[in-house]
């Protein structure tokens, strides 16, 4: 739709701008959520900020290691330009490891911490979907539905809007339950189950999906596993809390 934003002589990539705004919004959401749950907002903000930074650096360094021959004669290229050249999986692993060790070092209780982190993660995912929607890299499959988006004379499912709705549903459940939660971890597990369930449904309409050799949408498989695991843990934790009482 709008791959670049034109502001005077400047042309900015819409997706990049959305990612930066999304990171800021996610950190703010975590800080607020920690306040609502009466947790140490500063410490959780630092945990999320450190994970984000570690993920960014980790994604870049993983990419540099994989493509070292291209950087060997251009060491400056490691730090500039930064508009691309990241390995998502490497970044994710480094971010999780950094967050884990920060939590261990400061002896953060995992379940309440995850409860406070989940709104930030959802806001971040929402920003990614919005960036994808505004940047316009491929909407969904063909549709006759009135809410379809017409692009190049054909109407398509606005899959990114469906994803945003799934994130809003999960965020809404968090907000609705946060004052009356029955046990630590309930908000995290329920939000994860709802968002995974939403993506399980919506990814069916994506045309540029990540597919297996026999055409299965791989993201749907991951979402189904996440949803079932979250629901199972939700029931287990509820039982544990009930038996203790």
């Amino acid at each position: 739709m709008f791959p670049t934003l034109h502001i005077g002589p400047l042309s900015l990539p819409t997706a990049g701008v959305m990612y930066i705004l999304g990171a800021y919004a996610a950190l703010t959401a975590i800080e607020r959520a920690a306040g609502y749950l009466r947790q140490d907002a500063g410490r959780l903000y630092n945990l999320a900020g450190l994970s984000l930074l570690a993920g960014f650096v980790g994604a870049r360094l993983t990419f540099v290691v994989i493509y070292w021959p291209a950087f060997r004669n251009d060491l400056l290229g490691i730090v500039w330009p930064l508009n691309s050249g990241y390995d998502l999986m490497g970044g994710l692993v480094v971010a999780l490891v950094a967050g884990f060790f920060y939590g261990r070092f400061h002896q953060l209780n995992p379940w309440p911490t995850l409860d406070a982190l989940v709104p930030g993660v959802l806001v971040g995912l929402l920003a990614v979907s919005l960036a994808d929607f505004l940047g316009g890299p491929g909407f969904g499959e063909l549709t006759n539905m009135p809410w379809g988006i017409t692009q190049f004379s054909v109407r398509r499912h606005p899959v990114q809007i469906y994803e945003i709705l799934a994130a809003l549903l999960a965020l809404g459940s968090w907000w609705y339950l946060h004052q009356d939660r029955l046990f630590d971890g309930q908000l995290f597990l329920l939000s994860t189950a709802l968002y995974s369930g939403g993506r399980l449904i919506t990814d069916a309409f994506r045309e540029n999906a990540w597919l297996s050799a026999n055409g299965i949408h791989l993201l749907q498989v991951i979402c189904l596993a996440l949803m079932l695991l979250s629901l199972y843990l939700l029931t287990q934790r509820a039982e544990t809390v009930n038996s203790k009482q």
Binding site: A70, P81, S84, P137, E141, I216, L224
Partner: protein, 186 residues
């Protein structure tokens, strides 16, 4: 105990529903182009087809669809839109040249000029020692079809003729290599 059983039945039911939905959403793989693809310069769509003349050769032309499986070919294509006055274009041009040699016969790298004369394009090719085809878009029709508003812009097209990425701005050698690697391995 009864509540425990009910929970397990509910989870089992959700698992069955989920697997059924995944199976129902499965894409037919006998048609690699997918269902309902239309030509558009955006990710997930068929790359708009064109035929352009190659600068520096008498009658040689390049037709995009003949390189991909849309019309008998079987290689991914990288379109690099450039102009000689564009600084970032000049920075990235050596990367295209080097990788066009590294991936010779595995990928087609095409340089498409924006709005300059054939003589300017030829001079640019000589000064950078380029061996990949530089195409002359006389009426800027291909630039318009691909909606190229910023230079440089690089478009990655898979072997089926589907746009996989639209990259705006100068691209580093490592990123270019990673993208080409991915296309070649598919």
């Amino acid at each position: 105990m009864k509540a425990h059983l009910e929970q397990h039945i509910l989870l089992g039911l959700l698992a069955v529903l989920g697997v059924t939905w995944i199976w129902y959403s499965q894409e037919p793989m006998d048609d690699p182009l997918g269902f309902g693809l239309t030509e558009a310069p955006i990710v997930g769509h068929l790359a708009p087809d064109f035929t352009l003349s190659v600068v520096g050769s008498d009658d040689a032309t390049v037709t995009l669809s003949e390189l991909t499986s849309r019309n008998g070919g079987d290689v991914p294509v990288v379109l690099n839109f450039w102009a000689s006055w564009c600084g970032p274009c000049r920075l990235e041009t050596p990367h295209f040249q080097e990788l066009s040699l590294t991936y010779q016969d595995q990928v087609a790298i095409l340089g498409i000029n924006q709005g300059e004369s054939a003589a300017t394009i030829a001079d640019f090719g000589v000064s950078f020692g380029l061996t990949y085809p530089l195409l002359y878009d006389a009426d800027n029709g291909v630039n318009e079809a691909y909606e190229v508003f910023n230079l440089p812009t690089t478009i990655f097209i898979d072997r089926y003729g589907v746009v996989r990425e639209v990259y705006v701005g100068a691209i580093s050698q490592a990123v270019l290599q990673e993208r080409i690697n991915r296309l070649v391995k598919e």
